[in-house]
Subunit: 253 residues, 7 copies
Amino acid sequence: MQGQQQQAYDRGITIFSPDGRLYQVEYAREAVKRGTASIGIRTAGGVVLAVDKRIRSSLMERTSVEKIHKADDHIGIASAGHVADARQLIDFARRNAQINRLRYGEPIGIETLTKDVTDHIQQYTQVGGARPFGVALIIGGIENGEPRLYETDPSGTPYEWKALAVGADRKEIEDYLEENYDEEMELESGIELALRALAEANEGKLRPESIGMATIPTETAEFTPISDDELDGYLSEFDLLAEEDEGDEESDE
Amino acid sequence: MQGQQQQAYDRGITIFSPDGRLYQVEYAREAVKRGTASIGIRTAGGVVLAVDKRIRSSLMERTSVEKIHKADDHIGIASAGHVADARQLIDFARRNAQINRLRYGEPIGIETLTKDVTDHIQQYTQVGGARPFGVALIIGGIENGEPRLYETDPSGTPYEWKALAVGADRKEIEDYLEENYDEEMELESGIELALRALAEANEGKLRPESIGMATIPTETAEFTPISDDELDGYLSEFDLLAEEDEGDEESDE
Amino acid sequence: MQGQQQQAYDRGITIFSPDGRLYQVEYAREAVKRGTASIGIRTAGGVVLAVDKRIRSSLMERTSVEKIHKADDHIGIASAGHVADARQLIDFARRNAQINRLRYGEPIGIETLTKDVTDHIQQYTQVGGARPFGVALIIGGIENGEPRLYETDPSGTPYEWKALAVGADRKEIEDYLEENYDEEMELESGIELALRALAEANEGKLRPESIGMATIPTETAEFTPISDDELDGYLSEFDLLAEEDEGDEESDE
Amino acid sequence: MQGQQQQAYDRGITIFSPDGRLYQVEYAREAVKRGTASIGIRTAGGVVLAVDKRIRSSLMERTSVEKIHKADDHIGIASAGHVADARQLIDFARRNAQINRLRYGEPIGIETLTKDVTDHIQQYTQVGGARPFGVALIIGGIENGEPRLYETDPSGTPYEWKALAVGADRKEIEDYLEENYDEEMELESGIELALRALAEANEGKLRPESIGMATIPTETAEFTPISDDELDGYLSEFDLLAEEDEGDEESDE
Amino acid sequence: MQGQQQQAYDRGITIFSPDGRLYQVEYAREAVKRGTASIGIRTAGGVVLAVDKRIRSSLMERTSVEKIHKADDHIGIASAGHVADARQLIDFARRNAQINRLRYGEPIGIETLTKDVTDHIQQYTQVGGARPFGVALIIGGIENGEPRLYETDPSGTPYEWKALAVGADRKEIEDYLEENYDEEMELESGIELALRALAEANEGKLRPESIGMATIPTETAEFTPISDDELDGYLSEFDLLAEEDEGDEESDE
Amino acid sequence: MQGQQQQAYDRGITIFSPDGRLYQVEYAREAVKRGTASIGIRTAGGVVLAVDKRIRSSLMERTSVEKIHKADDHIGIASAGHVADARQLIDFARRNAQINRLRYGEPIGIETLTKDVTDHIQQYTQVGGARPFGVALIIGGIENGEPRLYETDPSGTPYEWKALAVGADRKEIEDYLEENYDEEMELESGIELALRALAEANEGKLRPESIGMATIPTETAEFTPISDDELDGYLSEFDLLAEEDEGDEESDE
Amino acid sequence: MQGQQQQAYDRGITIFSPDGRLYQVEYAREAVKRGTASIGIRTAGGVVLAVDKRIRSSLMERTSVEKIHKADDHIGIASAGHVADARQLIDFARRNAQINRLRYGEPIGIETLTKDVTDHIQQYTQVGGARPFGVALIIGGIENGEPRLYETDPSGTPYEWKALAVGADRKEIEDYLEENYDEEMELESGIELALRALAEANEGKLRPESIGMATIPTETAEFTPISDDELDGYLSEFDLLAEEDEGDEESDE
């Protein structure tokens, strides 16, 4: 389909093309690919979330590039794509998690929360007057003692994964994950796999300050950020520590 | 009708073309065809729902590719097309089923529920400010001890069927069903027919993990998912079990 | 008027063309012609409604192709055109009939009901934000012991008829009706006329399963569906019974 | 002004063209011309309304082609143009007449009612989101013992007339009226003038079944339909009775 | 600026062109010029309003071509341009005048009323969803014993005048007024000036039936229509009486 | 940027161009330039407002060309550009000034009032469904015994000035002001400077009737219009009095 | 991407381009670059805000070019880009800060306030009917005894910085800051760094009247404007004082 015809589907609201596609949703997926990669891995010992945080400048506070968020005590969310859109969805998720605690006196289920979010996303792809969300989320947490890991995409479809990547280099990272994933592995091995997978898309080496990581261990069911020191330790241990040099340009915006 | 003229009907809301067609509805039907096939079969012993679930990656949880849903104790719904749209309609159906139980103290009729859904769909094809739903549903269940099987299409028309397919390869599968369907057959034969019909569109063989199946037996009037083990058993029994190899690309999105 | 100029009237809401026409309404009339034929005949003995129901597949339940509806005890409605639109109007008619009984304790008049429906239709041709209804209705019933027969068209104009056809082959069928109609005939003769007229547009023969029929006799003032067996009897009696062969493609959608 | 430029004014809402015209209103006037003629004549003895009712088929009930309406006991309205639009305005007029009786305990004035209607029409030519009304009305009645006769046009302008025609052949009929009108004539002469004027546009002869007529006599101030028999009598008396032959195609829609 | 570019400003709402103009307002001014002339003259003895009323047909009631309106006891309004729009503004003016009497127990000021009207007009030039008013008003009356004379134009700007014309031939009539106006003249001289100015644009002669006139004398502060007989007297006196012949085509619509 | 591309930004609401400009706001600034000049000067002795009032006709009341308005006892506003828009903003300013007195029992601050107005203006440049205001205001007054002078532009930005001009010839007049302004000068010198600056843009001479002037002296803090006689005196004194001849065409509309 | 295609994304609301970009947001970023530079620096001793205020004319009051605002006692905000938009966001920030004090009896957190603002900004990039904000803010303040420094950009993304620049010459100034920033420096050194960085983009010299500066010292947590005299002192001390000459054209509008 060429430029001119495509144009027709960009102007108004999100509508079907003659071959049954929703271009605005597909373009929103492109917005996700423009963001740096985020990874989620489910292990027997809990969920690992890891993100690539390329910082534009050494003067920027690394912590303000938020790609991993605590949605509730037992739930973490990693995002890729349009950062401001991600914030909206994460606020939505937090409110829903909080309401669930208030109403039912118990933590919200991971699948329930995911579907609340995807239903919200879907509305923006069908009803006029707004554009779709240009972001994909990885929602991980512990439900009834079991680790769970979900993806939300810009169409509003929920998927459950053992391990996945969203954002730039998704294909390369998922290939690596498919080859190396083992459902039985411990949390520690999940951390290693996540870092090695991220390194795959970064010429084999990583700097702790350009990574974000958190786990939700099955045992504690508590969202647990990994500190820079810990990250430094892991990278050394796995021989993934990069020399000090300039990062590249790709960044979430 | 050529590209340029067609364009005119794509931009605004859903309106009639000079020959009396609603292009956005026809494009939504194309969205249905982009989804993998779903099948419904009504037998004397109950309703069979079977779906083709092609999984993008071995790391994706097969159960999260939801194409068969329990709408109420006695009703199952299979879908083909835009997954996020399907979720909206299924939530709508569930709410209506629940309200019926609360208000009248009895299970909702299959036809009643289907028409609630199609009336809802129709609104999105006539009133501006939203696009049609890009999904077809197969709604099956037991009403007054009788199995019933319906289809909803993107125009909002309800159809009752003895057996039908929606989504990719609809024509091929319906041809197979027409040839082999027998109104008097038992539930077990319905399961066999459903699997054989699905296999028709998959070069004759199936893998249990790329299939979803549920029945609503006349006797119990209970939505009953078929487990992977059972599926494996059926496929072996009917000599439909595929060798382990890569699936193809088609998937619901 | 050529393609390009016509285009101008298709995009926005329903507006007048330079020669004073409403294209969206005319296109909606084309949608009516795309549907199979429906017939209404008023006799001294009551109203006859007959419809052509071409079924896409032998697996489809014939009864689910609804083209004749009971709107109230004493009123039947046959439709041609966009099925999902017809359902909206028939629900609208039913609600109005019900409200009339509740409010005034008596059955609604046929003309009153027709005009309620056409006023509703007209709104969709004048106020923006929605398309016109792509359906024509034949509304027949008994009012004060007299049979009455009306048509609603997509512009929202009500017409009263002695006998009429809407949908495909309207012209041919109405020619036949004009030649053969007799205002004094009994209900039975009306049934014969309706079937012969339908046969005119079907190469002279009919199959009972591709026909729907109902009467509202003057005496009982009760909507009375004609069963398949009765239909089979009529077709044999009038020598209109078709051999078993494949139907053609035209169908309501 | 050529095709392309004109197009610009057709798309959106009713707006001014560079030469200060409102095209949608002018096109609505074309819709009026597409309808058959309606005539109003004011005599000392009362108001005469007469309409040309070309019936599409002998099976259509002539009375259902409504072009003369009783708006209140003392007021009749004849229309030309889009029938469904006319119905909206006549309902609006009836409601206003009724409210006037309820509120003030007396019949509404003819001029008051006309201006209520034209103000309503004007709104549809200025505020977006709807098209103008494609209909002209002739409103006639008795006010304080005096016959009054008004026209409403699609721009929402009220005009008072001694005698007028709207719809097809307006010019020819008005020429005839101007030549033959006499303000002092009695009601009977008004009836003759109306029929002769209609005949002018029908090759000199009329059939009673293709005419509608009503009077509002000054004396009774009661809307009084003229029956077919009376019409037949008048036509014979004035030597205007047509031989039985086919009517032409023009009809209100 | 050529056709194509101008088009851009016609489609949507009233917006600025690159050179800071509001085309829809300018086109509305063209609509004013399409109407016949109206004149206002302020004399020491009161305000004179005079209008050119070309009647389309001898059967039309001259009084129904309303171009001079009584807005309150002490205020008259003459209009030029789109008649139906004028009616809206005059109703708006009447309501405001009435509210003022109710609220403050005194007649509304002429300037106050004018500015109420122009503020209302301005809204239609700035806020989307409606077109500007295609009419200019001359508002004249007595305030605190002083005659006042105002104009409202389609942009919503109020102007105060000693004497002015709006509508067709504005330039010619205003030239005549500028030459012959004398601020100290009596009401009678104002009447003469108004008629002579109107005659200027009518080849020097006038017919009483194609003129409308009213005064609001300073002394009485009462809106006073001039009767046909009086007009005939004035025209004879000033030697402006036309021979009986056909009027030209221009008319307000 | 050429015609065609610019067009794109004119159609819809006020949106950014690729180089970060808001065309509708810039076009509104052109509307300001189309108006005659207005000047504001702040002196130790108070604020001077002076405006160029070119009158279209000798019959127009000069006082009705309002370019200087009293917003509150201590505040005057001069405008340039679209007169009807100016009236809206001045009404808005007056209401806000009045509310301030009612609520806090004290006169509103000049800066506070200016920012109320500019915030109101900004809304019309960001939210869809309306065009920006095509007018610039000079707001001058006394606050806590200090003269203050502000400008509002069509973007909604407030500026404080010692002396400024808006409207036609802004550049020339501001150049003159920059050369000749002295912050310490008395009110009388401010009046002279204002008149000399206006004369700069009028070939060195002025007529009292084409000027408007008002002061808000620091001492009295009372808005004080300058009468025609006073103006005549000033012009003679400063040798700026024009011979009687025709004015040019530029006028505010 | 060329002119024509880009056009498509400019017309309607903010939607995705085929490569996943939001053009209206990117154009809003261009609007930021059109404004003069603003700088924020976080030191151990507090936050420094410095802005480049190019004044169009010597008659404009320098203080009215507001680029540094006090949002609450402990928070300052510097802006770059569209001034009228900045005012909206700063009002929004002030209201939120005030509400926080009322509700919780304590000063709002800097990060909390920043995210309130960015969530507000994001809405304008996703929901139709308005354009994005064309402004970037630097929000600095003291929270729990710690200096914090944030940026909001037109997409609605919050960033935390040690030191940053927004507006014209961002790249050059940030390069200078990266080279010379030291996290441990005192407030005084932060002031020096800010002035030297501004000078980098102004050919090495600055005039006090074209600079604005404020600090929020860690110790006092009070927004503290730097007076012109202090500025003059700093510039002399750092040998940055410019000779008196004309400023260049760039200004915020």
